[in-house]
Amino acid sequence: MTPVLTVASLKKQFGALKAVDDISFEVRPGEIVGLVGPNGAGKTTTISMILGVLAPTSGAITIAGYDIARRRSQALAQTNFAAAYAPLPGNLTVEQNLRVFGMIYGVANLSARIDQLIAEYDLIPQRKAKTGVLSSGEQTRVTLAKAMLNNPRLLLLDEPTASIDPATARRIRTHIVDVAEKAGAGVLWTSHNMYEVAEVCDRVLFLSHGRILLAGAPEALIREHKAASLEDLFVTVANESLDPAGSAA
């Protein structure tokens, strides 16, 4: 199956700092891949490059067969994202935001798609409300609805449930798993919640100091490294990667 995302020998250097240091991975259709690591590991830098808002120092990114460096617009039309640090404009209503971004993504039958997403994400009472006055959980649901507008083949989620109560977070996780399974979208998911990553992700990439230290299915990684849980493994790997004498991989 052709990957929806191929990252090959990706590097990003800011002066002397190697924020992302020669990483390669793929996300296949229907697969949810967790990108985890301590703060400053290079997760958001990697996602920024995949989203085309940060140019790599070297390496290649291909989304659904489109090289983002050469066919940026076509590549980004196949993707969408939701990030806790990128709320939608607060001075537009929920419906207005979805309409503006739906037009940017060239969504067909936009009004019907907006109605569908507003219902799916329990936003009917907030439809005419300014996005900026919503609770953080409601804003996250609006951002996720925006991320689903164009039925993306690649979905990038950066801490998507960071400010959501556990019940809503569980519903959103279930919904995203459905999107991956039924629509065949590939999902790249960053999170610090290891319980969530273990529950949702088919594969996990541990990133530290810009390099992928570990990669594999959550259960397999726990078993191979004789860890009690994914969180224990995360803490061990993060600590070892900080210790120059340590060897994590």
Partner: protein, 267 residues
């Protein structure tokens, strides 16, 4: 450029204007104040000089045209600033939207808002002070287009400056028309200026517009030489402004400025 994407940028501005009278009011209020102020100054000066000199056409018309240029520029920059103020860069630029789509949307917004201001100015100048735009004849039309293109160029250049230097540099952008006005001879011929100011003035397209306007008012008819210079310069400035914006955008992609755009991050 894809129409629906540029239209999305315009639609966002339309929603903001429709939902917020405080955004709509300044588009009309400031130009109205200018027309009222200069209208009475012109009326007073007309009383001193008598009917020999058409001060309404030359002074009030100049105010109107210069305000129009400022409105076009502000229309473009304000639409851009809405994305700065709402920290919307990541949402906007991590989409299929191209730079041409985005600039096209900003320019279309500038057209809409500046026409609104122009209509308000014309209504006030005509009804209260007896100004007639028809006094210039059709010869003034291409010069208005030159002012429009120059306003767009200044707007695009302004957005590039703010994208490069950060939101805190916004204050650098607003006074640009005021800084240029002494050099372009809005109210006086370029020959009034010292040579070094004339040299700068001759490099700016609006100078030719106001020279032509005064010639037309004086009954000297259309000014093809001035028009050719004005069109050539304004086209060159538009291309240069778009080139600068594209360069700054590529710099922003390389350095991560767009991904982490804030007053603190830009330098």
């Amino acid at each position: 450029m894809r129409f629906s994407r540029a239209a999305a940028v315009v639609l966002r501005q339309f929603y903001l204007l429709r939902g917020s009278p405080t955004r709509l009011l300044p588009m009309i209020a400031w130009v109205a104040i200018d027309i009222v102020l200069w209208g009475f100054i012109t009326r007073y000066l007309s009383a001193l000089t008598g009917p020999k000199v058409n001060l309404v056409a030359s002074i009030l018309g100049a105010v109107l045209l210069w305000d129009f240029l400022g409105r076009v520029m502000q229309g473009v920059t304000t639409a851009f600033f809405e994305d700065v103020w709402s920290r919307n860069f990541l949402n906007i630029f991590a989409t299929p939207l191209t730079i041409a789509d985005y600039l096209g949307g900003l320019v279309a917004t500038g057209i809409g808002t500046s026409v609104l201001g122009l209509v308000a100015m014309l209504t006030l100048a005509t009804t209260v002070f007896g100004f007639s735009f028809f006094a210039y004849g059709a010869a003034i039309a291409p010069f208005i287009l030159v002012l429009f293109v120059t306003g767009i160029s200044l707007g695009v250049l302004g957005t590039a400056i703010v994208l490069r230097l950060g939101p805190a540099s916004e204050w650098l952008i607003w006074p640009i028309p005021s800084l240029l006005s002494p050099f372009v001879g809005v109210f006086y011929p370029l020959s009034t200026l010292p040579p070094w100011m004339q040299a700068i003035g001759r490099a700016l397209p609006p100078s030719y517009v106001f020279e032509a306007m005064r010639a037309i008012v004086a009954g000297q008819g259309a000014q093809p030489d001035l028009l050719a210079m004005a069109i050539g310069l304004s086209a060159a400035y538009l291309l240069a402004a778009c080139w600068v914006f594209a360069r700054v955008y590529r710099f922003a992609l390389r350095t991560g400025l767009i991904a982490r755009y804030s007053a603190e991050s830009a330098s």
